[in-house]
């Protein structure tokens, strides 16, 4: 039986104040964990309420205005308050410095500031939620967003402020990766999680200011009446769409690259196999980061942009598909001849391969110009981005959470319950969203409160699926909280993995390492080093 270490970062100092003024990257990760999961819960509740309303083609229990606010809040909260910060701010903060053998991030105070800015920005979002809601969709398309009477300003201001939090985290990670790698850790001995975080940080720093400025212009137009996007004042609404997607397409990769980064870690740690094609995966992260900036026009194939622009954007879009494909093939090749443990993180990894493949392949339909004309703004799109964002990012995030949970808290969750929850989420997710591909291809438009009766069976099935998924998430919340109190101590290295974080105690000591560790082997050198797993169920 393992024992918990006597002192660690969780009990090194005590009291609320020690948490609110902490500059320890691990504690900041925990602060983010609770605040981000709170908003995940809120966003999730809106999803459940939306699906319930869509059970029937006519009005069930909310009117169109309320419905429009619910889907806007679901989208805005999930995107800006959950999925963009989730992996970098929670797992990145907690793991990245330890992984590269550092005692903290490069700018610990900036790191704490980014959390306070996140909380500050989230207040604006909460304010718009209670002050009458927002009904523009998370995209805030003009001129609707400049003319509607709902709380657009506080929501966009919130997103504007949250952008700074995102930029600070990105900046911190870039410098940390450049300057704080432990002796012996060359760029190509870095864990792929660090590569993924680095590529993500680059996009965060370069793309987020564009969203900031765009939303600021929108606020200026609404408050001061300077016509930028509203044609009634001489502006151009399509200009807004260009600005918006010039950020929001790269933002899609702010969301998915960290998920890919996690999968690279999980697939090796739980199969004790050296990663296949390390350099290809590392470079493909950078390739994706770069390409993500030049494909935004594929969100606008029906906006009336010129045929030439549409052609170029379609062409470039297909090039983004290639590095993502390469990663998937590399991960599968990694499994070959491995020693695959059927742990919860590995189940999430397999679920990721399944769901992300569907998400990626359905992207091909949307990149093809003629097919996109038909599918654009239907449920096919809704299903596609949920397969990528939930089936990809959220599933990877959950896998990562279960992978590093014993490191965070020193205790293991109940594996049986965890596997059941994973199964429920996987089945529920497919029930909810696969049906949406079919009804979307059949023409069901997105953001519809009322709909034609022919789509009814699809909507009903989708709603049942959302309930299955919800049960899975509640079960997860239950066993994770429970593990904090009754979980068995996990030991330093429950998975027998090789990256630095598994060489220190669980939970880690306050300053991670007594002395800066020397990196002597690659992160996946399972052929050279054997690390024994410190945990067994029995």
């Amino acid at each position: 039986m393992n024992k918990m270490p006597e002192t660690h970062y969780l009990n090194a100092t005590k009291g609320i104040k020690s948490w609110l003024t902490t500059v320890d990257h691990k504690r900041i990760g925990i602060l983010y964990l609770f605040s981000i999961m709170f908003f995940f819960f809120i966003g999730g509740m809106f999803a459940i309420l939306l699906r319930l309303e869509l059970l029937t083609p006519s009005e069930l229990y909310i009117d169109s205005d309320t419905y429009n606010q619910f889907f806007t809040l679901h989208g805005a909260i999930m995107i800006f308050l959950f999925i963009i910060p989730a992996i970098p701010a929670i797992l990145g903060n907690f793991v990245l410095p330890i992984m590269i053998g550092a005692k903290d991030v490069a700018f610990p105070r900036l790191n704490l500031a980014s959390w306070y800015i996140y909380m500050f920005g989230s207040m604006f979002a909460v304010f718009s939620l209670v002050s009458g809601g927002v009904d523009t969709g998370w995209t805030f398309y003009t001129p609707y967003s400049t003319t509607t009477s709902t709380s657009v300003i506080s929501m966009t201001l919130g997103a504007f402020i949250l952008g700074f939090s995102s930029i600070f985290t990105g900046l911190n990670f870039i410098v940390t990766v450049h300057k704080l790698r432990s002796p012996g850790m060359t760029w190509f001995k870095m864990p792929l999680f660090a590569w993924g975080m680095y590529a993500t940080a680059l996009i965060q720093v370069l793309a987020t200011p564009i969203l900031g400025i765009t939303l600021l212009l929108l606020i200026i137009e609404r408050t001061v009446g300077i016509g930028i996007f509203d044609p009634a004042m001489g502006g151009d609404p399509v200009l807004y769409q260009h600005f918006f997607w010039f950020y929001s397409h790269p933002a899609v990769y702010i969301m998915i690259l960290p998920g890919m980064a996690i999968i690279s870690e999980l697939i090796t740690a739980h199969s004790h196999k050296k990663i296949f094609g390390y350099t290809a995966i590392a470079y493909s992260s950078l390739g994706i980061a770069f390409a993500s900036f030049i494909v935004w026009g594929h969100h606008m194939f029906t906006s009336g942009q010129s045929e030439l622009a549409a052609m170029i954007f379609s062409f470039l879009t297909f090039f983004v598909a290639i590095p993502s494909g390469i990663k998937v093939f590399n991960w599968i090749a990694t499994l070959y001849k491995g020693s695959i443990a059927w742990t919860t993180p590995m189940l999430y990894t397999l679920a990721f391969l399944f769901l992300f493949s569907i998400g990626g392949l359905t992207g091909i339909f949307l990149g093809a110009l003629s097919v996109d004309i038909h599918l654009h703004d239907t449920y096919f799109i809704v299903a596609h981005f949920h397969y990528v964002m939930v089936g990809g990012t959220v599933i990877a995030f959950l896998g990562g959470l279960h992978h590093w949970w014993p490191k965070m808290w020193g205790r293991m969750y109940n594996e049986t319950q965890a596997k059941i929850a994973c199964g429920l989420i996987f089945v529920g997710f497919n029930m909810t969203f696969f049906t949406q591909f079919i009804m979307g291809a059949k023409g069901m438009p997105r953001r519809y409160h009322l709909y034609d009766d022919v789509y009814r069976p699809f909507h009903a099935f989708s709603t049942y699926g959302s309930w299955v998924m919800a049960i899975g998430f509640f079960l997860m919340a239950y066993y994770l909280f429970r593990s904090l109190y009754v979980g068995k101590p996990a030991g330093d290295n429950p998975w027998g993995a090789l990256t630095h974080e598994w060489s220190i105690t669980s939970p880690p000591p306050e300053h991670n390492f007594e002395s800066i560790p020397i990196t002597e082997h690659g992160p996946y050198d399972y052929d050279k080093v054997v690390a024994k797993s410190t945990f067994t169920e029995k």
Partner: protein
């Protein structure tokens, strides 16, 4: 007539629809093969190499990279997506380039209905009637926010913008009625901004064009109004069963005292209704948003008269109606 479509796609009833579907199914089958490989191999490896006591992973040389294999799985998908790109672009150009002999209809989108102006004069609301087997060019713009014109069975979609014209076209191959959806979110009535495309034979279309100038001959004003209530999309926002919608309900409205958002009030009479139709922003009923578009240029005088007569007929308390002609209407109906 193709009424069922395939498992994935709605019926294909325009000249380009089957071309779009062909590419859709090409991508679908290619994807299924790739997906089966990805998931099949993952599952096979996960089972075959499941961790067993005393069996270590095999990390011999050459298992961590393989240049030939990596080139293979880069180049093959690249070729596949390039085929998809060229194919998609070719059909896209057909969707975008309007044939020279196309019949042009002006489409206007506004919250939350569609209106259509025909070259011969005359217009229709929420129902666009077109001849079969003839290319139809749509010249579109919006009076307020961005909308999008989408007919699933024709595979045609184009945004409708407030500050410039957008153009698309289609040629229907089957007589019938098809849904026309707005697919760019435009506010409260977005999901009710649903029109019909009615595809008719050449002869029927000519007859319909003549009828377009129809001004209710042979109908009572009230019945003509009832027809306009549906065909001009008043029904989207004004109910006649007393329920509140985007606008005030019409039943028991005439003669009533309405409280306005500026604190004053007004008696609903003929002139008030006429003003509300032509200049809806002049007086806003308290409790409702100022969202009604003007029908100036869409409704003719005779049609406004008809709508007023219809609203009167919905007043159950006849003492509020002085106009005798409409009461005669009512008594005629009762007989």
């Amino acid at each position: 007539m193709d009424t069922t479509g395939t498992f994935w796609m709605p019926p294909a009833n325009s000249t380009i629809a089957s071309e779009v579907d062909a590419l859709f199914y090409f991508i679908l089958y290619a994807s299924i093969i790739i997906f089966a490989l990805v998931v099949g191999l993952s599952a096979y490896f996960a089972i075959k190499y499941k961790r067993r006591d005393g069996v270590e992973a095999i990390n011999s040389k050459g298992l961590d990279h393989n240049v030939k294999l990596e080139i293979f799985w880069t180049v093959v998908p690249l070729i596949l997506v390039m085929i998809v790109f060229v194919w998609g672009f070719q059909t896209y150009m057909k969707i975008n380039v309007v044939p020279k002999d196309a019949y042009e209809i002006k489409v206007t989108g506004q919250k939350w209905f569609w209106s259509f102006d025909y070259p011969e004069g005359g217009n229709s609301v929420n129902e666009i009637v077109v001849p079969v087997n003839k290319p139809i060019k749509l010249l579109m713009d919006s009076k307020d926010v961005v909308h999008s014109f989408f007919v699933p069975e024709f595979r045609v979609k184009m945004d409708v913008l407030p500050n410039r014209y957008s153009i698309t076209w289609f040629e229907a191959t089957q007589v019938g009625e098809y849904n026309l959806f707005c697919t760019e979110f435009c506010g409260k009535g977005h999901s009710e901004m649903v029109g019909k495309v009615k595809v008719v034979s050449e002869e029927e279309f000519e007859k319909w064009s003549e009828d377009l100038a129809f001004s209710g001959e042979g109908m009572t004003l009230k019945d003509f109004g009832a027809k306009l209530y549906v065909s001009k999309a008043c029904v989207t926002c004004h109910k006649i069963d007393g329920t509140n919608s985007t606008g005030p309900p019409w039943n028991n409205l005439f003669g009533k005292e309405e409280h306005l958002s500026d604190g004053t009030s007004v008696i609903v009479d003929e002139n008030y209704i006429r003003e509300s139709i032509l200049n809806p922003m002049a007086k806003i009923t308290a409790g409702y948003q100022a969202v009604m578009p003007t029908f100036q240029g869409i409704l003719k005088d005779k049609q406004i008269d008809a709508l007023i007569a219809y609203i009167k007929s919905l007043q159950e308390d006849k003492s509020l109606i002085q106009d005798e002609s409409s009461q005669e209407d009512e008594s005629l109906k009762n007989e």
